[in-house]
């Protein structure tokens, strides 16, 4: 088939490239071993590796400068594309912040930006629960929000609703929900031990999670403020189809980057497996 021939010729050329580099490395390796043994080889390999990473670091530094410039242009309204945001598409926004960088002043400024953009429902997550411990302080300093209650429906309202979450609302909440289901299973008197038989459904699991306070709304978009794109344990049950964007460290957050991330989200189309 045409597709298979194309695929195998591509694979062949890539294998040749890989083999070339492995051969070159092996030849140099053998030559260096003859001259001065393993130590020189290891030092040279390490130096090459470090040099490669310095180059990558400089490349990303240049990218960051370009992004900062673009972000400045967006926040000044000079890029037409980002002028109109269909913010109504964003029903629920989650923000994951690296616990080591959780400065409440930055968090409050970020919330103010979100309020200015018209975002109505926000979940703030950090793994260690530092934001949870500071929630009273944050709600006091940022007077445009109320605390999200478990049974709140996502309606349009004047004040932003704020939810605070941490790692204990994820896996540990699932363990608690499992025990709720287990008690129901014992009380039902069911003695099924057949391996393949289904005992619970996903909706029952969802209900059990709600009982233990671990099943808030599923965010449409999750913004990660940290050194790397990683959700850091945000409750797994809630991020099945959530768009995840990496925003960089919180201390270098930019208003223009926030607009760009929300704009990119509003342009996405999901198939949900179909």
């Amino acid at each position: 088939m045409k597709s298979q021939k194309w695929g195998s010729s591509k694979m062949e050329s890539e294998r040749r490239v890989l083999s070339f580099f492995i051969f070159k490395w092996a030849s140099c390796h053998d030559a260096l071993l003859l001259i001065g043994g393993d130590m020189i080889v290891n030092i040279l390999l390490r130096l090459t590796w470090h040099l490669l990473h310095v180059t990558i670091h400089l490349f990303y530094f240049a990218i960051n400068i370009a992004n900062a410039l673009e972000s400045h242009l967006i926040s000044k309204g000079l890029l037409r594309r980002y002028k109109s945001l269909h913010i109504s598409k964003l029903q629920y926004l989650a923000i994951v912040i690296e616990s080591e960088d959780c400065q409440t002043s930055n968090v409050i400024e970020l919330l103010q930006w979100l309020a200015d953009l018209g975002v109505k429902h926000v979940c703030l997550y950090d793994k260690e629960g530092i934001l949870k411990k500071s929630k009273d302080f944050i709600l006091e300093k940022f007077d445009g929000a109320t605390l999200f209650q478990e049974n709140d429906v996502l309606l349009d309202q004047s004040l932003m609703t704020l939810e605070f979450a941490s790692f204990s609302d994820g896996k540990e909440a699932v363990a608690k929900a499992a025990n709720v289901l287990f008690m129901k299973y014992l009380k039902s008197g069911s003695t099924s031990s057949y391996q393949g038989e289904q005992i619970f459904t996903e909706s029952q699991m969802g209900e059990a999670l709600k009982t233990v306070g671990g099943n808030g709304p599923e965010p449409d978009l999750l913004l990660v403020y940290g050194p790397a794109r990683c959700h850091l344990g945000f409750p797994a049950w809630r991020i099945r189809y959530t768009e995840i964007q990496h925003m960089g460290p919180l201390k270098s957050m930019k208003y223009g980057s926030l607009i760009k991330a929300i704009y990119k989200f509003t342009m996405v189309q999901q198939n949900y497996g179909k």
Partner: protein, 238 residues
């Protein structure tokens, strides 16, 4: 492994041909990972949600899965690779299910390089399945230690712990991944390993899956190495 259909449309290939090239790309990627020294590779081949696609497309993917099993079985005869199939295999037809189980059994003794193919898998189904298994285990324990319907004996009632749930998951056969790659510029997990990727780099590539090559893999590995200390610190605190 996103982008098979988009690739086929862009290259004006016949319907389903994108999946053929995608399967080749997966086999290539397994070889590249092996040569780069990666020990565990997991691929999301078929989601439970994918059963909602056209029956002809679902059948095409099942046929490709069978071919991949045959290829992996041949490779396993000459190279010590372990093959796992993670997911609700009861949703597969009998022939595929038996072939998958035979391949897992035949390669169970190897451990140096592990290939896991997720079939009929989704993370929320994995969580529910592991809660069910944990309930069955604890129910057996409950019966064994006798009648605990007496409410005064709450402290003797078996409790499901997080470690019970984690050991009963389909994905418990391998460690949590360091990197999760998604192609076609998609930025969501689509119910794949969100439980296991708490401390993983989520890498998004703009290329479609059939066009993925060794340099994409090298780029992602280098990105991971840039933040290696951070990920090690996060895992050690977990």
């Amino acid at each position: 492994m996103d982008g098979n259909r988009r690739y086929a449309k862009r290259k004006l290939l016949e319907e389903g041909a994108g999946h053929d090239v995608g399967a080749m790309a997966l086999l290539n990627m397994i070889i590249y990972c092996h040569e780069l020294g990666v020990k565990y590779i997991t691929a999301y081949a078929f989601a439970i949600d994918n059963f909602r696609r056209k029956p002809s497309e679902v059948q095409k993917i099942m046929d490709l899965l069978k071919e991949c099993m045959t290829v992996l079985a041949k490779i396993a005869k000459h190279h010590p690779i372990k093959v796992n199939f993670a997911g609700n295999l009861e949703l597969l037809n009998t022939e595929l299910r038996d072939e998958a189980r035979n391949l897992m059994g035949a390669t169970a003794k190897y451990s140096k390089f592990v290939v896991t193919i997720c079939v009929c898998y989704c993370c929320t189904d994995d969580i529910v399945h592991s809660v069910e298994e944990s309930c069955r285990e604890k129910h057996y324990y409950h019966c064994y230690i006798g009648d605990s319907h007496d409410d005064d004996k709450d402290d003797e009632r078996p409790i499901i712990k997080l470690v019970d749930i984690e050991k009963n998951m389909y994905m418990a056969v391998i460690p949590d991944p360091d990197i999760l790659i998604r192609t076609s510029d998609e930025h969501r997990l689509s119910n794949f390993l969100q439980w296991q990727t708490c401390h993983s780099l989520l890498a998004s590539l703009s290329t479609d899956w059939p066009e993925i090559g060794v340099w994409h893999l090298v780029k992602v590995v280098l990105d991971f190495q840039q933040n290696y200390d951070y990920f090690v610190r996060k895992r050690s605190l977990a």
